[in-house]
Symmetry: C2
Subunit: 135 residues, 2 copies
């Protein structure tokens, strides 16, 4: 897998805007963040510049202005970040986190059912793998 540029917390907000819709002009991004982030327009433009430098986004020229769009997918991002987060806090072991969350979180019956269904699928795969490799 390729190296994803490191995106800071503030930059992340900009990325979210561009992930939900793109391409957008700087002003559109600024507007989208308004009232939500309480940032001066210049601040947003700085963040955009930094994301450009990091190759997290790019632009096409549209007359006198630029249309920005993401170069990395949110999924890739969430994936990698989650991985490193887990490593840091849970020593890479996913189960403790899962246990923690299954226990602590408010989950609706529907959600619980869905999670169980997923686990059932995993059980089958697991047995499959066990047969092939572990025994």
């Amino acid at each position: 897998m390729k190296e994803l540029p490191k995106i800071s917390e503030a930059e992340w907000e900009v990325m979210k805007i561009l992930w939900t819709r793109s391409p957008q002009t700087g002003n559109e991004v600024i507007e989208a963040l308004e009232g939500q982030m309480d940032w001066k327009p210049k601040t947003v433009r700085t963040l955009i510049s930094r994301l450009l430098q990091k190759n997290a986004i790019a632009f096409q020229e549209a007359g006198r202005t630029y249309l920005y769009y993401p170069l990395v997918s949110q999924d890739d991002y969430v994936q990698t970040e989650t991985q490193s987060f887990l490593k840091r806090l849970y020593g890479g072991a996913v189960k403790p986190l899962l246990v923690h969350f299954l226990r602590e979180q408010q989950l609706s019956s529907d959600e619980i059912s869905e999670l169980k269904r997923i686990l059932d699928e995993k059980t089958e795969e697991g047995q499959d793998r066990d047969r092939r490799k572990d025994r």
Copy 2:
């Protein structure tokens, strides 16, 4: 809940040492990190100082040297960090993360069984709550 001091990644390594055993002298901490982190002793001492300033740890004097111990619990920490991580990446929604991990991770049959058991418990609680509040 009280405010937990912000602990950086490097500082976290020091905290882990003190969480597994405390109190410890600076040298003990340095030794415990040796070979694992490739930090100069002075670096570790800097981290210790910063943790003191942040009130993440404290010490008792023992003759000419100090014995350091944590002031915050690892559990509290993991909890808060996880919370803010989730908020940042998953918009606070836990289910997508759970789905993601249940799907992607290698889990043993035993682990899967345990997770299912937990979900079963939740189902009961959920029905309970439903009876009391939702209907």
